[in-house]
């Protein structure tokens, strides 16, 4: 839309002697646009195309065969399971954190906001290592849990924990500015009309934040399925058991099984594309309520 608005104005001005202060000469414009497109093509578009080209190099049947291979199927299943646990939990945690930060005043609020950003600023590998230290054989918790038959590390719970840690900020980050901008007026109106806390949340707050929430969940889900670093530390890479899709891609690639590696990678790339399309649709359809999030 910015481009549509920009072009006619620029064309109109090119015929006049004194151009607008905010436009550039045609040559400069072409150079800038060309540079940007070349960069995008080389660094984003080309790799994406390569993924699909490599995946289908030996034909569609080879593509399906490599996806149906038991270890790969298990990895897809595990990734979906982990996302199905981590995303709903982060949805609840994110809404709770955003609610607390946006609607209440309390001591240590600034600290909490910084803490929410921690997973973004810490390397995912470190996040994984933290869980190894917490639940590993050398820790205080690890042996105790093990004696009670609970496996955290090198098992699904560890992968889920690491994924939750890494993807925690998405929902909260999305909602905090939105809820802060909306203020507490609607909630006050609802309780003055006799609504209970739950009714206020359900009928007033949630509908007000629904698009921002969906947006946050989409991003959270994309990251949950694509996370590599933290998961690779805690998973132990047991084939068919604790390998998620990104880990499986790496293993297959290291075994020179390019078609299978790129087939799995294409699924992840598809996920990214679907997420982006949904996100753009949401922005297009509900731009106003989502825009509130961007300061």
């Amino acid at each position: 839309m910015a481009l549509e608005a920009f072009l006619p104005a620029a064309l109109g001005h090119s015929m006049q002697s004194a151009p607008d202060a905010t436009t550039e000469r045609a040559g400069v414009r072409l150079l800038l646009i060309g540079a940007a497109l070349a960069f995008l093509g080389f660094f984003l578009f080309l790799p994406l195309v390569t993924v699909f080209v490599e995946a289908f190099r030996k034909g569609i049947s080879a593509y399906w065969m490599s996806l149906a291979e038991p270890e790969t199927a298990a990895a897809i299943h595990l990734t979906l399971t982990v996302a199905a646990i981590a995303v709903p939990l982060n949805l609840v945690f994110g809404v709770a954190a955003a609610w607390a930060i946006a609607k209440f005043e309390f001591k240590g609020k600034a600290f909490l906001i910084t803490l929410i950003d921690l997973p973004f600023s810490v390397s995912p590998v470190i996040a994984g290592l933290v869980y190894v230290l917490l639940f590993g054989a050398g820790s205080a918790l690890g042996p105790w849990l093990k004696s009670h038959g609970i496996e955290i590390l090198f098992a699904v719970p560890g992968i889920v924990l690491a994924t939750i840690f890494v993807t925690f900020p998405f929902v909260a980050r999305e909602l905090i500015p939105l809820m802060q901008e909306q203020g507490t007026g609607d909630e006050e109106a609802a309780i003055s009309l006799g609504a209970s806390g739950w009714q206020t949340f359900w009928y007033v707050t949630l509908p007000n934040i629904r698009w921002g929430l969906l947006y946050g969940v989409l991003l959270c889900n994309a990251r949950a399925m694509g996370e590599f670093g933290a998961v690779s530390v805690v998973s132990g890479r047991i084939r068919g058991l604790t390998n998620t899709m990104p880990l499986q891609v790496e293993i297959l690639y290291n075994e020179y099984n390019a078609v299978a590696a790129f087939a799995v990678a294409s699924l992840l790339a598809m996920l990214a594309l679907v997420t982006l399309v949904l996100k753009s649709l949401l922005e297009y359809r509900f731009g106003d309520s989502i825009a509130a999030r961007k300061h």
């Binding site: 007026g185 309780i191 003055s192 009309l193 609504a195 509908p207």
Partner: protein
């Protein structure tokens, strides 16, 4: 429903927003809380609603201590400055919200809620807009819907926080008249907050003038306008001119001259004389009056506003003279305030002079002779 505010104090971070406020509101009264921003008027309104809780003191609805109850239990109708309509609900759903969230036992059936919403829309003169969304309405219409929504729960007290603050002047005036009509028709005890004195004086049965967390004066429009009881109220309500003077032996002095006004109840010492620019009479000679040099004059509707410089310290004040009175710059004008008040700078002792008071005092003096 009588509302009684008893010795209420409210602190935010140890800063007193309200300082020992007491106020009795009679059932069915329309009360305005008037004051500049930061005077605590909105805080007081939110305390009555239960959206804030007092640091000390209590608030009674009738005989019952409402300050121990939650917002939901108080059953008040609250109208916000920025409407706070639920944007994803239609007008009818907004109005019906308070009924829909009632517990199962007391919740009316959906058809009854819908009927009630239509009825209230008729009352606020928006019939037929049931299925619109808030963003499809004008500001004035939104505020009417907000009021209908507040009325739907049959509130014991109706509270409005700067209800017309976000609207333009013409809509404000129209809604003001309309709110008065609604109030007279429904008879709810109503408290509204405003910083617009015209709105307060025109609309309210009684005006509560507030400043810096305290109530300065409570009274009818006539009382607060004609007999302000503090320099603040005098300055805040209506136009006013003030002049630093000195009280000696019950007479007002400006430097070495007496100005022909007496205030026997004000202690000797520095004081400030207040009067309204239009409450003056021009006099010819000046034996015991005020006289000043014209600095500027401008035409104001049917009158002429003159800015005068008075006394050795060149204090400036404004008076109103008839339009036909020619005022050249640097010419001199002599006048005497007809209604005025003088407040001692040292304490709260004051003398308020209005024609009625002056008349009564004159009669007393004649009787004494």
């Amino acid at each position: 429903m009588d509302v009684s505010i008893r010795k209420v104090r409210k602190e935010f971070d140890r800063f007193p927003a309200l300082d020992d406020i007491s106020l009795d509101i009679r059932s069915g009264e329309l009360i305005a809380l008037l004051g500049p921003s930061g005077s605590g008027k909105t805080t007081l309104l939110r305390l009555i609603a239960g959206l804030e809780s007092p640091t000390a003191g209590s608030i009674f609805f009738g005989d019952e201590d409402a300050s121990r109850k939650t917002v939901q239990e108080r059953n008040v109708g609250f109208v916000f400055q920025h409407y706070a309509l639920f944007r994803h609900m239609t007008v009818a759903q907004n109005i019906g919200f308070g009924l829909k969230v009632r517990p199962r036992g007391t919740r009316p059936p959906a058809s009854e809620i819908r009927r009630r919403a239509s009825e209230l829309l008729d009352l606020v003169q928006l019939s037929g807009l049931e299925d619109r969304y808030p963003h499809q309405l004008s500001g004035g219409q939104r505020q009417r819907v907000a009021l209908a929504r507040a009325l739907a729960i049959e509130p014991r007290v109706l509270l409005l926080d700067e209800p017309f603050g976000a609207l333009d002047a013409q809509v404000r005036r129209e809604l003001r008249r309309w709110l008065r009509e609604i109030h007279d028709a429904t008879g709810h005890t109503t408290v509204f907050v405003t910083h617009d004195q015209e709105e307060a004086l025109e609309l309210a049965d009684r005006v509560v003038v507030m400043s810096q967390g305290r109530i300065e004066q409570v009274g009818t429009a006539d009382e607060v306008y004609d007999r302000p009881n503090s320099p603040f109220v005098f300055g805040f309500i209506g136009d006013s001119s003030s002049l630093p003077v000195r009280v000696e032996g019950g007479h007002l002095w400006l430097q070495d001259r007496t100005i022909g006004l007496s205030a026997p109840h004000v202690p000797d010492g520095p004081a400030t004389l207040h009067f309204r620019p239009h409450d003056v009479e021009l006099v010819d000679g000046c034996g015991g009056c005020l006289a000043g040099t014209v600095v500027a004059a401008r035409r104001a509707a049917g009158k002429r506003r003159v800015e005068l410089e008075i006394g050795g310290r060149h204090h400036r004040l404004e008076v109103e003279v008839p339009a036909e009175h020619v005022t050249a710059a640097s010419s001199r004008i002599a006048f005497r305030p007809v209604r005025w008040a003088v407040f001692s700078d040292r304490s709260f002792s004051r003398q308020v002079e209005t024609p009625a008071v002056a008349h009564a005092r004159l009669k007393q003096e004649i009787e004494r002779m």
